[in-house]
């Protein structure tokens, strides 16, 4: 018996080993800063191994290529930023268990496996590893009813969507006799059972729709995002979403290419509904976490546009958008983490009234992230949307690009309202706007804000990099 080639799997193996090491080390090392540093070193080691790991192994079940590597970098970046904003925050929330870091690493490992999945079985296992870890993280503040409630809702709907995904996988397996994503399309076409194939595709699409919170499968997102610890909300509004897109790109654009007319129609409907509901309901929200939850739903709707465009240009625009979204969204949540002090959670619009008087610097950062989320130049959000809409126009969906721009304009209302509350009101009586002074959190804010501006001013390297790895 010959050994399978483990080279493409090396980053995951090393990352798993280091995650287990962190779990053990946490028994002996009490300083959470040290544990956080160990995680960051592990991430660096893994990131270093990714470019050397290209290849296909286990007879096509596991694929490491430019596409998967780009997503893995997003996941690792997401992990580093989450660790940086967590270290002091989980102490304030009194949820300071060392497992926090290990579970974050396992969740990231699940995402990495999803991005590399060449087979539906591997995809399912990666997805469950990611999802199960994220359920735990959402309920990490055990003594807080809101946190456990959010974990419960996330768990029930996540498990429900996995069951639907499995039914779709079962149908695809029954129709083709294989679970290899690369062979699905040709076998489905040869088989000729069109109606059954479309039914299977719809099931799979519904399941992924749950994962990336497309309307009408989004109803879990606002409650889960609001109740979960803020650092975890930042983590799961970027990571699992990007992982979902990695899988959608692989399964729909390669695996189910033969049915592109059908799933494209479905995605167009879903993306318009997602942008509409996300942007319009966000207007009514007074809780910032809830507002950002709806905003994250709307952003999933934008990112889907690149998949609808369906070519190299569109897919690379989606990937680029997800990278930019990681910076600006985690940045916005970092400001919320910054505002969490020992006495109270500052989460509503009323509480941030006049923040610019007390903390001009924190307000300026929030201003940058809100501009970027709206898509105002010279921030990164503008670049991301620009390339998405351009790809869409070039592949003949000009009307859809117009719809997206209209919804983007609507979104300006609730993003800029945050800025208005910070700059144009007097502070409320009795609200202590103390901010955290943790150095790691400052570092995370520095990285995210610099990147948001850097990508906004000089986007070429990032855009070209995304094009390179897809093409």
């Amino acid at each position: 018996m010959n050994m399978p080639d483990l080279q493409p799997l090396m980053p995951e193996i090393v990352f798993l080993g280091l995650a287990l090491f962190v779990l053990l080390a946490e028994l002996f090392i009490k300083s959470k800063e040290t544990i956080g540093l160990m995680v960051i070193v592990s991430v660096a080691a893994t990131a270093y191994m990714i470019p050397q790991s290209f290849g296909v192994t286990f007879s096509g079940m596991f694929i490491s290529d430019g596409y998967s590597s780009f997503f893995k970098f997003i996941f690792l970046l997401n992990l580093i930023l989450t660790i940086l904003i967590s270290i002091q925050y989980i102490q304030i929330e009194r949820a300071e268990f060392g497992e926090y870091y290990t579970v974050l690493m396992f969740s990231t490992l699940g995402m990495m496996i999803m991005a590399s999945a060449g087979d539906l079985i591997v995809l399912y296992l990666g997805l469950e590893l990611m999802a199960l870890s994220t359920y735990i993280l959402a309920g990490f503040i055990r003594h807080d009813a809101r946190s456990t409630e959010s974990a419960l809702k996330y768990f029930l709907l996540g498990a429900f969507s996995s069951a639907i995904l499995l039914y779709g996988i079962m149908l695809l397996y029954g129709l083709t006799g294989t679970t290899d994503i690369m062979k699905l399309s040709s076998l489905l076409m040869k088989n000729g059972m069109r109606l059954q194939s479309i039914f299977a595709i719809v099931m799979v699409m519904v399941a992924f729709g749950f994962k990336i919170a497309l309307v009408p499968f989004h109803m879990w997102a606002p409650d889960v995002y609001e109740g979960a610890p803020t650092s975890i909300t930042a983590f799961m509004s970027v990571g699992p979403k990007a992982a979902g897109f990695a899988v959608i790109g692989r399964v729909f654009l390669t695996g189910l290419e033969g049915f592109s007319a059908d799933w494209r129609l479905l995605l167009v409907v879903l993306s318009i509904a997602t942008m509409a509901v996300g942007n319009i309901i966000a207007i009514q929200q007074h809780n910032l976490k809830r507002m950002l939850a709806y905003s994250s739903i709307a952003h999933a709707g934008y990112a889907v546009l690149g998949v609808i465009a369906g070519n190299t240009e569109g897919l690379s625009a989606t990937m680029n958008y997800l990278l930019i979204y990681a910076f600006m969204n985690i940045g916005a949540f970092s400001v919320l983490v910054l505002l969490r002090n020992e006495q109270e959670r500052i989460e509503t619009l009323e509480q941030i009234k006049g923040l610019a008087r007390n903390h001009p610097f924190a307000s300026a950062l929030m201003l940058i992230f809100m501009f970027s989320l709206t898509g105002i130049p010279p921030t990164a959000g503008f670049v991301g949307k620009f390339f998405l809409f351009r790809a869409l126009v070039y592949s003949g969906y000009t009307w859809l690009a117009v719809v997206a721009v209209v919804f983007s304009a609507i979104s300006a209302y609730f993003y800029l309202r945050v800025v208005m509350y910070m700059y144009m009101y007097e502070p409320e009586e009795g609200v202590t706007q103390d901010i955290s002074t943790a150095a790691p959190l400052g570092l995370a804010l520095l990285i995210t804000s610099l990147m948001v501006i850097a990508i906004g001013i000089y986007p070429e390297p990032f855009v070209n990099f995304a094009r390179l790895v897809v093409g």
Binding site: Y124, E128, L132, R142, L156
Partner: protein, 100 residues
């Protein structure tokens, strides 16, 4: 020999019963049981397909589903217990602190 169709129908019925239970019941434990029922509907179909096609992948996936369902049960019940300690209820209509 029992035709494949019968197994597929059985799987579909078990899956649908689970889905119906998930959507109509309001006790968290029963909703959770319904999800397990959905998974078992998938398992029945997968094993039947695997047997009729003489291909092992379906059974491999079934084993993985059973293993993951066990992990899911552990985490799910842990979350339910944490919830119960905070709220003394397992009824989803009473778990509604966040709305909007």
């Amino acid at each position: 020999m029992v035709p494949l169709n019968w197994y597929m129908w059985l799987g579909a019925v078990v899956f649908s019963v689970g889905m119906f239970g998930f959507l109509t019941r309001r006790n968290v434990i029963i909703m959770f049981l319904s999800i397990e029922l959905m998974l078992n509907g998938v398992n029945i179909s997968l094993v039947a397909l695997s047997h009729y096609m003489q291909d092992l992948r379906g059974q491999v996936l079934t084993l993985f589903i059973i293993a993951v369902a066990a992990a899911e049960a552990a985490i799910g019940l842990a979350i339910v217990i944490a919830m119960f300690r905070n709220r003394q209820t397992v009824h989803v209509d009473e778990i509604k602190e966040m709305k909007g």
